[in-house]
Structures are given as structure tokens and as C-alpha cells.
């Protein structure tokens, strides 16, 4: 079994290195094919491992070699395939296989085709390291690795100013969170003496509560960055500058869920500190509704999906924070399927529309792009949580958790968010695919994507439909690893009211969205309508002015302060002091060089001056010695 672990882990690395060999060359089709094959190999190996674990096999644990060992620290490259990591491996490898194959078509005309696959496979490798590591340090390797690949892929079209800016923003924002994560690691190390999960988890119950709370908080700060939780969320929407397959893989299905994975993985820690858990859940619920509200009015197709990702991540954190780790993991998995599908569908639309992102400029695309329409509609239904698609099972479970745990505020917020989700998802679908065509005005001739791209998306489509059926299997799989419990609402009546009520609410939202946006006569908004003038619209459209606030109060002052530090402090104070000292010495020299006129008579005069001064000193010292007793008395009188 170990060999499958190695294959699953290293096939993406091989793929990345292989593709990297051709980065400087023109597009080579075989690079994409081989990369896809290698990622598929990783997927196949992960499947073998999943079957192994499903059949009750022991978790597989390997240690490759020591990474860092000094003092009391010993960090190996250790990898583990257990119930939790195998689920993540499946999600990662499946979505990345799909995305790799899809990218062969999507990046078809890009001159940096080969480089794209190098980065994409490197990302898969980092993600595998992240989920398979058996210690926090290894997790951190993957953590930073995915950050790097995300930087490279967001800024993939590096000639675009906005893309490189977004790449840097994402990297730096993640770095802020990574500092929190690092501090969390330090706390774990100095309190338990190890960074291995097993040993650390075993030691956690023996630590005092305050320490555990700090560990929990700092690790969660790390998770907040990667999973783009408030207030570190702005990078995710900007990250949509990257190619769409990247958005599907990294900024929807896998990397952004790494934070959720971290919380799930550290569940023995968060079990001990339910107050931090409650904070996580509250923040999650807040982000869910906060992000959903921004998606309501946005006019950028990819950003709308990005906000929806953010919102769904909030759901996951809400579940994880309330201790329902298995529910969070299940939603993570289901979300990966339908969100990746949604993004890839959006990619098809973008291709068809020549990179136009404003859904108001589309409309009636369902005739031209039948399959994309079907896929995106089903994915949106799944996202909205309509029975019997994947999202229904996972999202409903989260709502139940909130209800059963008696956190009614969280429950209500999440419920409202579900309605908002349904609304903005179908606002998008209606604007893109229904109504009358508005694109002809812009001279665009849309066409359906390549067949094989649609085929590549089909596994996701199927999973988005049927993943809910595996809920029970999934529960059994992670039951032991995550101390999973079923959240039963005791009264059947309540349960049915809840389910039917939620469904009705969601369907009503969908219906409303259709009614509002699928009608004829939708105009491309030009900022003059009454809605657009309203305060609320502006607030939402400008993302609550948070990016503006960050730019105005963090970025600009930082730049100005840097400039002041350089031009004023470093050059005018610190360096000027040093030069000032040198100048004093130098000018003393210039001033006194007059003595050295070379004139014998001047020198003799100076000699006499020196003689007199020395004599006076000698006399003074002699007198002082002679009258030392009296002097000290005198000085004592002065209080010296």
C-alpha cells in the first residue's frame, strides 16, 4: 500500500518538473497530456488508498527522512493516509485531474501553455503534502507551497498589471495569516515538545486552558488567511484574475479549504476549547452572510462565484467550529465538486464570450451552449442545496448542527444565507443563459467548448448530483477519526418542517431570481437606475468599502512611511549622524592644519604654547594632590 502513497504524492511533482522543463518553449501538446496522465495516476492511487481505508485497513504511515533536527526539535518528512487525509486526497486529485484535462482545452491558445501545467501540477503536489503530512511543519510546507503556486497562477498572465497586483496581494495577505500559524506552531512545539500530530494531540489535554486557547487562536489565524475569512478575505475576489481552471481548482475546491482542513485535523485541540470553536462558528456564519450579500449585486461572473465560495467556506467553519467536523468535511467535499463544476462552466462561458465577465452583457446563451447551461444549472442547484443534489445533504446537515446545538442565531444566519445563495446563483444563471441575447450588441459570436472539456467536467457533474447518497458511507468512514455523531432532531415534525421550510425558501428565492432576471428587456446597467443609486447597492457593490479602506489606511501609509523611513530617517538622521561625526573629525583636521604651516617659527610658538599648557597642568595636578584633603571637603560641601 505504501507504494500507492508514494505514487499519489510524487506523481504531481514529477508532472510539475516535467512540464517545467519546457516552460521556456512554445506550446507542446504532449506536456498537457502527460501532466494530466500523471495527475490521473495520483487520482487512481488515491482511489486505491480510499478503498483500502474503506475496507477497514489500517492508516498508512510512512516517514521518508528527517527534515530538521536540532536541539529538542525533530521534524521528519512523514506522511499519513488516514480517514481524513484520504478524503482530502480524493477531492484534490479528482478535481485536479478534471481541471488538468479541462485546461488542455482552456489554455489551448495560450503561449505559456507549458508553464501553466508546471504551476498547476506543482500546486497539486503542495496540496498533497499539505493534506498528507503527519505533522504541523509538513503541513506548513504544503501551506506555503500552495500559497506560492497560487501566486504564480493568479499572476499567470503577468503582463497584466491587475493580475500581478492580485497575485502579490494574495501572497502578502496569506503571509499575514501564516505568521499566526507559525506562532501557533511555536506554541505547540514549546508546550508539547513536538510537532507530530499524534504526539501533540496526546499532550494537549495535559496543557492549561489558556495555552490551548492561544494555540487554537493562532492556528485559526493561519486558517483565516488561507480560507479567506474576514478580515483577510479581500484577496480571494481579486484572485479571480487568474485563469479560470485555476479559480476552479485552487480558489474554490482545494486551497481555500485548507483552513477548514486545518481545523478539522486539529479537532482534538478544538474539542478542548469550545469557546474558540464558538468564535470560529460565529465568524463562519458572519462570513457566510457577509460574502453572500456582496455576491447579490456584483457584476463580475467570476467574482460572484468567488463570493459564493467564501460564503460556503463560512458554512464549513460554522460546522467545524460547532464540533461537527465530519459535516464540515462532507460539505468541503460536496462543495469542491459543484463549485469546481460551476467555475469550469464559467470558464466555458468566458471562452465563448471572449473573456467578457459581465453577465449583463450575455443572456440567452442556453441555445448556443446547451451542455454548459445544463451543468451550470445543476451545479447552481447543488450550491443552493436543492433536494436531492449534493449540496442539499451537506448544507442541510450544517443547518441541523446549528439547530441541534442550540445556536439559533447561527442557524438563522445560515438559513438566510441559504436563501441569498439560491438567489445570486440563479441571478447568474438567468442572466447568462436566459432572457434575450445582449451579446450581439458587442459583436461576440459564442460557441460551445470542446467536447473533451465537457467530458472532463462530467465526473464533477455526476458527483454534484449523487454525492449526497454517500453521506452514510462517509459518516462511517470518518466516524472514529473525527468522533462523529449524528445530529438528530428528536421531533420528526420539527425535522420535516425545517427541511420543507428550507426547501421552500430556497425554491422561492430561485423563482424570484428567475423572475427578475430571466425576463426580457434587461439592460446593461449604466449606473443611473434608482437601485444603483441606493446606498445599500453602493455599499455592497464596493464590497463594504473594505478594499478601499485597506488601500487607504494600510497600503498607502505603509508606502509613505517606507519613503519617510528611507529619505528622512535613514538618510537624514542615521546616516547624517555618522557623517556628522566624520565631518567633525574632518573639520577639526582642516581647522588645525594651519598649525602645520611648515614655518619653523610658527611651530616653535606652538611648542611654547604646549609647554605652557603642560606646565599648568602639572602645577594644577600638584596643587590638587597637595590640597586633596581640603578639596574633597570642599566638594563634599557642594554635595558632589
Amino acid at each position: 500500500m505504501e507504494k500507492y502513497l508514494y505514487i499519489a504524492l510524487f506523481a504531481p511533482l514529477v508532472s510539475s518538473l516535467f512540464s517545467a522543463l519546457f516552460t521556456a518553449q512554445k506550446k507542446k501538446q504532449f506536456v498537457g497530456v502527460i501532466a494530466s496522465l500523471l495527475i490521473f495516476t495520483a487520482f487512481a492511487s488515491s482511489t486505491v488508498l480510499l478503498v483500502h481505508i474503506l475496507n477497514g485497513g489500517e492508516p498508512i504511515h510512512v516517514t521518508l527522512m528527517t527534515w530538521m533536527a536540532t536541539g529538542g526539535l525533530n521534524i521528519p518528512f512523514g506522511f499519513v493516509v488516514d480517514e481524513v487525509s484520504v478524503v482530502m486526497m480524493m477531492v484534490v486529485t479528482l478535481v485536479s485531474t478534471v481541471v488538468h484535462i479541462y485546461s488542455n482545452g482552456y489554455m489551448d491558445h495560450d503561449k505559456s501553455f507549458n508553464r501553466f501545467f508546471a504551476w498547476l501540477s506543482a500546486f497539486v503536489f503542495s496540496m498533497m503534502v499539505l493534506v498528507m503530512s503527519d505533522n504541523y511543519a509538513g503541513l506548513f510546507i504544503g501551506w506555503e507551497g500552495v500559497g506560492l503556486c497560487s501566486w504564480g497562477l493568479i499572476g499567470f498572465w503577468y503582463n497584466k498589471e491587475s493580475a500581478t497586483w492580485a497575485a502579490n496581494e494574495a501572497f502578502i495577505m496569506n503571509r499575514i495569516a501564516d505568521l499566526g500559524m507559525l506562532i501557533g506552531l511555536f506554541l505547540v512545539y514549546w508546550n508539547t515538545g513536538t510537532l507530530q500530530y499524534e504526539e501533540a494531540f496526546a499532550a494537549f489535554p495535559g496543557l492549561d486552558h489558556a495555552t490551548l486557547v492561544w494555540i487554537g487562536i493562532f492556528l485559526f489565524i493561519g486558517a483565516m488567511g488561507k480560507s479567506a475569512q474576514f478580515p483577510l478575505h479581500t484577496w480571494l475576489a481579486d484572485a479571480m484574475e487568474g485563469p479560470t481552471p485555476v479559480s476552479a481548482l485552487i480558489h474554490a475546491a482545494t486551497m481555500v479549504t485548507a483552513g477548514v482542513y486545518l481545523v478539522i485535523r486539529s479537532h482534538p485541540l478544538y474539542d478542548l476549547i469550545p469557546n474558540v470553536g464558538l468564535f470560529i462558528a460565529s465568524l463562519g456564519a458572519f462570513v457566510a452572510i457577509f460574502a453572500a450579500s456582496m455576491a447579490l449585486v456584483n457584476r463580475d461572473m467570476k467574482r460572484i462565484i468567488a463570493y459564493s465560495t467564501l460564503s460556503q467556506l463560512g458554512y464549513m467553519f460554522a460546522a467545524a467550529g460547532l464540533g461537527a467536523y465530519w459535516v464540515a468535511l462532507f460539505h468541503l467535499m460536496a462543495h469542491a465538486f459543484f463549485k469546481a463544476l460551476l467555475f469550469l462552466g464559467a470558464g466555458n462561458v468566458m471562452h465563448a464570450m471572449h473573456d467578457e465577465l459581465d453577465p449583463f452583457k450575455m443572456g440567452a446563451l442556453k441555445e448556443k451552449m446547451k451542455w454548459t447551461w445544463i451543468m451550470m444549472t445543476i451545479a447552481s442547484f447543488a450550491l443552493a442545496g436543492v433536494f436531492p443534489l449534493a449540496g442539499f445533504y451537506s448544507k442541510d446537515a450544517i443547518l441541523e448542527v446549528g439547530f441541534v446545538e442550540h445556536h439559533y442565531i447561527i442557524y438563522t444566519v445560515l438559513l438566510v444565507t441559504a436563501g441569498l445563495t439560491a438567489f445570486y446563483s440563479f441571478r447568474l444563471v438567468a442572466l447568462i443563459f436566459h432572457g434575450e441575447d445582449r451579446y450581439t450588441l458587442f459583436g461576440i459570436h459564442p460557441h460551445e467548448a470542446y467536447k473533451f472539456m465537457l467530458w472532463a467536467m462530467s465526473p464533477l457533474l455526476i458527483l454534484a448530483i449523487i454525492a449526497g447518497a454517500f453521506q452514510h458511507t462517509f459518516f462511517e468512514l470518518v466516524e472514529e477519526a473525527l468522533n462523529a455523531v449524528h445530529y438528530h432532531i428528536h421531533s420528526h415534525v420539527t425535522l420535516w418542517i425545517m427541511i420543507i421550510g428550507t426547501q421552500a425558501f430556497v425554491l422561492a428565492s430561485i423563482f424570484y431570481a428567475y423572475k427578475k432576471y430571466a425576463r426580457k428587456g434587461i439592460k446593461v446597467p449604466d449606473g443611473t437606475s434608482e437601485t444603483e443609486q441606493s446606498f445599500l447597492y453602493k455599499l455592497l457593490y464596493n464590497q463594504y468599502y473594505i478594499p478601499y479602506f485597506y488601500d487607504e489606511y494600510f497600503v498607502k501609509p505603509y508606502r509613505e512611511l517606507s519613503s519617510i523611513f528611507w529619505k528622512k530617517v535613514d538618510l537624514k538622521v542615521v546616516d547624517a549622524t555618522v557623517d556628522g561625526i566624520a565631518k567633525v573629525l574632518y573639520s577639526t583636521g582642516s581647522a588645525t592644519r594651519g598649525m602645520q604651516s611648515g614655518n619653523l617659527s610658527t611651530m616653535l610658538r606652538w611648542m611654547v604654547v604646549g609647554l605652557v599648557v603642560l606646565l599648568m597642568i602639572a602645577v594644577a595636578v600638584g596643587l590638587a594632590a597637595r590640597y586633596s584633603a581640603e578639596l574633597s571637603q570642599f566638594l563634599a560641601g557642594l554635595g558632589v
Binding site: G594, S597, G598, N599, L600, S601, V608
Partner: protein
Amino acid sequence: MEIGLNHYLVLATILFGIGLYGVMRRKNLLMLFFATEILLNSVNIGFAAISHYYADLTGQMFAFFVIAIAASEVAVGLGLLIVWYKRHNSIDLDEMSVMRG
């Protein structure tokens, strides 16, 4: 009035002052030598007087040494002076400023 040690020392001091003034003010190298001689001899007077006062011959011995050294100094110095005069036709101190700082 008995002439005592103090008188000698006052004489030595006055001579020293004259010599010092000469050293500082004279621009002629030859005059400088004279002034130096006055300086040295004022010290010699001091040595001799104190030596007599303490009845210790060390001071007088020192005076002899000083005389010897002064003599040799003048010999060498005058030699250099003559050479300089032959080259530059002047022994003005202000013109000897090759070693300017």
C-alpha cells in the same frame, strides 16, 4: 645684600624668558640659534646654582653635558645653515616651509 639662590634663579628665569621670546619672534635662523643658546645657558645657570645650594655636583655635571651638547648642536646647526644659505641665499625662517601640512 647677600646674593642667594633666588637671585640666580630669577636671573635664570629672566634669561629663559628672553630666550623664549627670541625663539618665538626671531625670523632669522642665526638669531634663532642665539636665542636657543640663551635658553640653554639660562638652564645651565639654574643647574649650577641649585647644585651649589645643595652641595651636590650632579647639577654641575648636567650643566657640562648641556654645554657640550649645545656646542655640538651649534656646530651641526651652523653647518646646515651655511649650506642652506649657499643654496637659497637667505636664512629667513618664513621661507623655509617645505614641510607644510
